[in-house]
C-alpha cells in the first residue's frame, strides 16, 4: 500500500459525519457488501451529543470474523448505557473495498452510522491474533490518522488495544496510545471519565501528553510512550517509566463477580453469515487446569463462574429475543461449570414455541466419558462428529504440557461416543512442544489408530480426523522461555505423521501452515524493535495475514533482514531465567518465579493437578488481587481422571507429586 493515496486528514473531515452517500454506489461492486451495512438486530443507533465521548470499537479482521467477538459486544453495551458516551463498531474492510476507498478518498467508518473513524475520541481494537497486527495499522491509516502515536495530536483519536495479545503489546508499542490489560468491563468506564474531562476542556493544543499521563494512572492501562527501553546488545536491559507517577509494572484488571456483568444483554444478530452465528452465553471466565501451553488459561485466572440462574435467564431471554435456535455455553472448559448437567437439562426444556429442538453447543469438550454423556443429552438430533483435544500423543508429553489425560480417558470418551451413535471423531494435537521426541509425535498416530479400532467395534467406517497445529510459545505461560521449533522441524514432524498415517484406514491428517506458526511466534514474543518490521510489512501490502491467500512469509523475513533483526534469535532461541522479557513490566497476576518453576516441572515431566481441588500453588492470580476462584462447587465433576492422570472412580485421593517448591507466600 506504499503507493496508496492518502486519506483526508481528521481535521479535513471534522463534522462531515456519514460516509454512506459516498460509499453506497460502490457496494454493488464488492464481495459480500452486507458486511458494511450494519443494521444488526440489537444495535440501535447510538445517541450522539457534543459532550459525549465516542468510542469506535474495532476488530482488525473481516466482519464475519469480528462481529461475534463477545468482548467488543460487551464493551459496546456498557459504553452505550452511559449518558456521557457512545460506542459504534468497525471492522477491517476487505481488499476490494479498500482499493475503492483509497481511490475515492473514503475513510474507515463505523458500520452503524458510517461515521468517519477519525471523528471518534478513541479507536479501540480487540487483539486476539498476532497476525492481525498489520490490519490495525491499515485501519488507522485508512481512517486518515497517522499510524505512529508520536505523529498524532489532539485532533486525532487515541488508538487503544485490548484482548489476549496485549500481554505482549511491544511490537505495536510505536503505534498505539493505550494498551488495556485484562477484563474491560470496569476500566473502559474509568478511561471514558478521563476522555470526558479532556473533551470538556476542548482538547487544547498540547494537551495530549497530559491525557496520556492521566490515563497511565488508571489501573490496567499501559501507555507504551511513557516508558524508556534500554538494550544490552540484542538483549533487553530494562523497560522503565519516564515519570514517577507512571507505574513500574502495569497490573491487569479482573472483574471479581461475573454475575454483576450479565452482558451482552442484547447480543447482536447479524444479517449476513458470520462465524459462531448463534447465541453465545459465557458461563465462566478463567481456568484452573493449568495446561502449560495455554495462554488463555494462564492470563484469565482466577475462575469466575456466572450464577447458574443467570446463565438460564440469559439463554432463555436471548433465544426469545434473537430468534436463534442454537446456543453455545462459552468458557475455556465448559464441562467444568458447576452444575453443568442441570443447566443442560434446563436448556433442553426451554419452550421456544417451535417444534424444532434447540441446539446446544459445548465448545472445548473435556476428554472423558462424562462429557460424552453430556453431549448425548444435547445431541438428540444429528450425530455427526465430536471433537476432543488430547493435545499430545504420549503420557510423557502430556505430563510435560500438564494436560493430564490418560489414554484410558480418551478411549473411554471415544468408545462411549461411538457406542452412542457418533461416527466421526476429531482430535486436536500440538506438535513442536518442549522436549518432544519422534516417539511423542508418532504417539499421535498411535492414538488415532486405536480410536479407529474402537470405532470398528460399533460401525463399519468410523473416521478419525487428526488436526495438528504447530506450537507457538506465548507470554505469561511456563513455555515463554522455550525456543520454538523451526519451520523445517515442524514440517519434518508433520511429514513423519503424514507417512505414518497414510496407510492407516480411517485416519485423516490435517495440519496448520508451519510458516504462519513461525511468524505468529515472532510477534508473540517480540519486542519494540519489531515495530519497524510491522510497518514495512504493512506498507508493502501485508494485510490479512491470518488468511492463507494473503499470508506472505517472504514479506516478514525480508523486513526482518532490512531491519538487521535475526528471526532465529526472536523465534527459536531458548530464553534463560535471568533474561529480561519484553513483557516483564506488565503483569497478568502470575509470579514469574511460579512460571519458571512450572517450566522446570515441565522439563522434569511433572504434572500439576487442577488447583480447584488441590492445594494452592501460589501462582499469584488469586492472592495478588485478593480474589478467590468463584465456583458454585469445588468438587471435581464426575468422570475420568479429571486432569489428575489417575482413575478417580477407584477411590484414590488426588495424587499430587511435586518437586520441592518454595512454600506458599514466601518470596525467593
Amino acid at each position: 500500500m506504499s503507493a496508496a493515496p492518502p486519506i483526508p486528514s481528521a481535521t479535513a473531515n471534522a463534522g462531515s459525519s456519514s460516509v454512506w452517500r459516498a460509499l453506497e454506489p460502490h457496494l454493488p461492486k464488492v464481495a459480500k457488501p452486507a458486511r458494511y451495512i450494519g443494521l444488526e438486530d440489537g444495535a440501535p443507533a447510538s445517541e450522539r451529543a457534543p459532550h459525549k465521548v465516542g468510542w469506535l470499537l474495532c476488530y482488525p479482521d473481516t466482519y464475519e470474523i469480528g462481529l461475534p467477538n463477545q468482548g467488543l459486544q460487551i464493551l459496546r453495551e456498557i459504553v452505550n448505557e452511559r449518558d456521557d458516551a457512545y460506542a459504534e463498531r468497525g471492522y477491517a474492510v476487505w481488499s476490494d473495498l479498500e482499493a475503492i476507498m483509497r481511490r475515492e478518498r473514503i475513510p474507515f467508518f463505523s458500520v452503524e452510522t458510517h461515521t468517519s473513524a477519525a471523528e471518534f475520541d478513541a479507536i479501540a481494537f480487540n487483539l486476539s491474533a498476532e497476525l492481525t497486527y498489520t490490519n490495525v495499522l491499515n485501519c488507522v491509516d485508512l481512517a486518515g490518522v497517522p499510524v505512529r502515536s508520536d505523529e498524532r495530536d489532539e485532533t486525532h483519536p487515541l488508538v487503544v488495544v485490548g484482548g489476549h495479545c496485549t500481554y505482549n503489546p511491544e511490537p505495536l508499542a510505536d503505534f498505539v496510545d493505550l494498551v488495556v490489560l485484562g477484563d474491560g468491563e470496569e476500566v473502559i468506564g474509568e478511561i471514558t471519565d478521563v476522555l470526558r474531562e479532556w473533551r470538556a476542556e476542548g482538547k487544547r493544543p498540547g494537551s495530549r501528553p497530559n491525557v496520556l499521563r492521566a490515563l497511565a494512572r488508571v489501573e490496567g492501562v499501559y501507555v507504551p510512550s511513557l516508558y524508556d527501553v534500554a538494550y544490552d546488545g540484542p538483549f533487553l536491559a530494562a523497560v522503565t517509566p519516564r515519570f514517577p507517577d507512571v507505574p513500574e509494572q502495569v497490573e491487569k484488571r479482573t472483574v471479581a463477580d461475573l454475575g454483576e456483568w450479565p452482558y451482552p444483554k442484547q447480543q447482536l444478530v447479524p444479517l449476513t453469515e458470520v462465524v459462531h452465528d448463534r447465541l453465545n452465553v459465557e458461563v465462566f471466565r478463567g481456568c484452573t487446569r493449568g495446561c502449560r501451553f495455554c495462554q488463555a488459561g494462564m492470563i484469565t485466572r482466577p475462575v469466575r463462574e456466572r450464577p447458574a440462574e443467570q446463565v438460564r435467564s440469559m439463554i432463555e431471554g436471548g433465544l426469545a429475543r434473537t430468534g436463534y435456535d442454537e446456543v453455545t455455553l462459552t468458557s475455556l472448559s465448559t464441562a467444568d461449570f458447576s452444575g453443568i448437567e442441570q443447566t443442560v437439562d434446563d436448556v433442553m426444556n426451554i419452550d421456544t414455541g417451535s417444534a424444532q429442538p434447540i441446539t446446544l453447543g459445548l465448545p472445548s469438550l473435556r476428554v472423558d466419558a462424562f462429557t460424552v454423556g453430556l453431549a448425548n443429552k444435547i445431541q438428540n438430533a444429528r450425530r455427526t462428529g465430536l471433537t476432543f483435544a488430547p493435545e499430545a500423543g504420549t503420557w510423557r508429553m502430556r505430563q510435560v504440557i500438564n494436560k493430564l489425560i490418560r489414554e484410558e480417558d480418551l478411549y473411554g470418551a471415544v468408545g462411549s461416543a461411538y457406542s452412542q451413535g457418533w461416527r466421526r471423531m476429531k482430535l486436536y494435537f500440538l506438535t513442536g512442544l518442549p522436549s518432544e521426541t519422534d516417539e511423542d509425535t508418532l504417539g499421535i498416530a498411535e492414538l488415532a489408530k486405536n480410536c479407529v479400532a474402537l470405532g470398528r467395534e460399533h460401525h463399519k467406517n468410523p473416521s478419525v480426523t487428526v488436526s495438528v497445529g504447530g506450537f507457538v510459545p506465548k507470554p505469561f505461560t511456563p513455555f515463554q522461555w522455550f525456543g520454538q521449533n523451526t519451520e523445517d522441524e515442524l514440517r519434518r514432524k508433520i511429514n513423519l505423521l503424514k507417512d505414518t498415517t497414510r496407510k492407516m484406514g480411517g485416519v485423516q491428517l490435517k495440519w496448520h501452515d508451519p510458516r504462519a506458526s513461525v511468524i505468529e511466534g515472532l510477534l508473540s514474543r517480540g519486542d519494540r524493535r519489531l515495530g519497524r518490521v510491522l510497518e514495512l510489512v504493512w506498507r508493502r501490502g501485508g494485510v490479512f495475514q491470518e488468511w492463507g491467500e494473503h499470508f506472505d512469509e517472504r514479506l516478514w523475513l525480508d523486513a526482518m533482514a532490512e531491519c538487521g533483526l535475526d528471526p532465529d534469535w526472536y523465534i527459536h532461541r531458548h530464553r534463560t531465567e535471568d533474561e529480561v522479557l519484553p513483557w516483564d513490566h506488565l503483569s497478568a497476576g502470575l509470579h514469574k518465579d511460579f512460571l519458571w518453576m512450572d517450566w522446570q516441572d515441565a522439563l522434569a515431566e511433572v504434572g500439576l493437578p487442577d488447583c480447584r481441588w488441590t492445594p494452592c500453588y501460589d501462582c499469584g492470580a488469586c492472592t495478588g488481587y485478593s480474589i478467590e476462584h468463584i465456583v458454585a462447587s469445588a468438587t471435581p465433576p464426575a468422570g475420568g481422571s479429571q486432569g489428575t492422570g489417575v482413575d478417580l472412580s477407584a477411590g484414590h485421593s488426588v495424587p499430587v507429586s511435586l518437586t520441592p517448591r518454595i512454600p506458599q507466600g514466601a518470596k525467593p
Binding site: 443494521l39 453469515e273 421456544t352 417451535s354
Partner: protein
C-alpha cells in the same frame, strides 16, 4: 391414515434501503429467525435436522430493491383454520421482528397443492436507473431494443461462453417517469429510468442483461423489482396483489380476494 395437512400462507414483502445489500441466502436466514421470534406455528421438516418449511420465490440479486418479494410459509395443521393464526394480523405480528427495510405488505392463504412461486411466476417488472443515459438517449435505446429481432447476450457458464438471445424475454420496455419509483425508494435516479417487463422462462432475464443486449458498455444503477406476474385461470395477476397502497406505501395493505390486474406496462 394420511397426516393432517399443513396450511400454507403466502407473504408479500418489500426490501428497500441498506438491507438491499444482503443476499438471497441472508434473507432466508432473516426470515427463519423472525418467524421464530414471532412464535408462529411454522411447520418443520421431518428427520434428523428439521428445517422450517419455507419456500422462496425467484431470488432477488444482491443490491436490488423490491416491492414484490414472496415467501410461502407452511404452518402446522389447523393453524389458520382453527383461528390460532389470523392472516390479517400476521403482518403486524411479524413486522416488528424484521430488520429495517424489510416489511410485509400483504398475506394470503394458499392451497398447499398450488404451484410453487418459482414455477408460477412468468415475468417481472423492473425499474432500472441507468446513470450513463440521458432521457433522450434512453428513448433511443428503447426504440432500438424493441426494433431488434434479437438481442444476443454472452455469459460465462461453467467456464464456457454461452450466448443467449434475450429478445423473446423483453416483454415490455419504456422510459419511466421518476415519479414511478415506489414511495419506499428514497433515492433520485442518477440518469434515465427504464421500466421493463422481463420474462423468466426458460431462464429469468436480468436487468443487466437487457442493458448488455443493447449496449455492452451500459451499467445498471439502482434497480427495483416492482412486480412479479403469474396467471390464474388465464388472467395475468400478482401472486399476492395489493388492493391499495397506503399513502406511505410501506404499510400493510388489507388483502383483497379479487386479483388486482395491472395493464401491461
Amino acid at each position: 391414515m394420511t397426516p393432517p395437512r399443513t396450511e400454507r400462507v403466502r407473504i408479500r414483502y418489500e426490501k428497500f434501503g441498506r438491507i438491499r445489500f444482503t443476499s438471497h441466502r441472508d434473507v432466508a436466514r432473516v426470515w427463519e429467525r423472525s418467524l421464530r421470534r414471532s412464535r408462529l406455528p411454522v411447520s418443520y421438516s421431518e428427520g434428523f435436522s428439521p428445517r422450517p418449511r419455507l419456500r422462496f420465490g425467484l431470488a432477488l440479486a444482491t443490491a436490488h430493491e423490491s416491492c414484490g418479494e414472496y415467501l410461502d410459509v407452511d404452518l402446522e395443521p389447523g393453524a389458520v383454520s382453527s383461528g390460532l393464526v389470523d392472516i390479517d394480523e400476521l403482518a403486524s405480528l411479524v413486522n416488528p421482528t424484521l430488520p429495517p427495510g424489510m416489511t410485509i405488505q400483504a398475506v394470503a392463504h394458499v392451497e398447499p397443492g398450488a404451484p410453487s412461486l418459482q414455477e408460477s411466476v412468468d415475468s417481472c417488472t423492473w425499474l432500472v436507473d441507468v446513470p450513463q443515459l440521458t432521457v433522450g438517449e434512453a428513448h433511443d435505446l428503447v426504440e432500438r431494443a424493441l426494433a431488434a429481432d434479437e438481442l444476443p447476450v454472452t455469459r460465462e457458464r461453467k467456464g464456457k461462453s454461452v450466448t443467449d438471445d434475450i429478445r423473446p424475454n423483453v416483454l415490455a420496455l419504456r422510459v419511466a417517469d421518476p415519479d414511478e419509483r415506489p414511495p419506499a425508494a428514497d433515492w433520485q435516479p442518477a440518469g434515465a429510468l427504464l421500466r421493463a417487463e422481463l420474462g423468466t422462462h426458460p431462464r429469468a432475464c436480468r436487468p443487466a442483461e437487457l442493458l448488455a443486449g443493447v449496449d455492452p458498455t451500459l451499467e445498471e444503477g439502482r434497480v427495483v423489482r416492482i412486480h412479479q406476474w403469474t396467471k390464474v385461470d388465464g388472467v395475468r395477476c400478482e401472486p399476492v396483489p395489493l388492493e391499495a397502497l397506503p399513502p406511505e406505501g410501506a404499510g400493510i395493505a388489507r388483502l383483497s380476494t379479487a386479483h388486482a390486474i395491472e395493464r401491461a406496462s
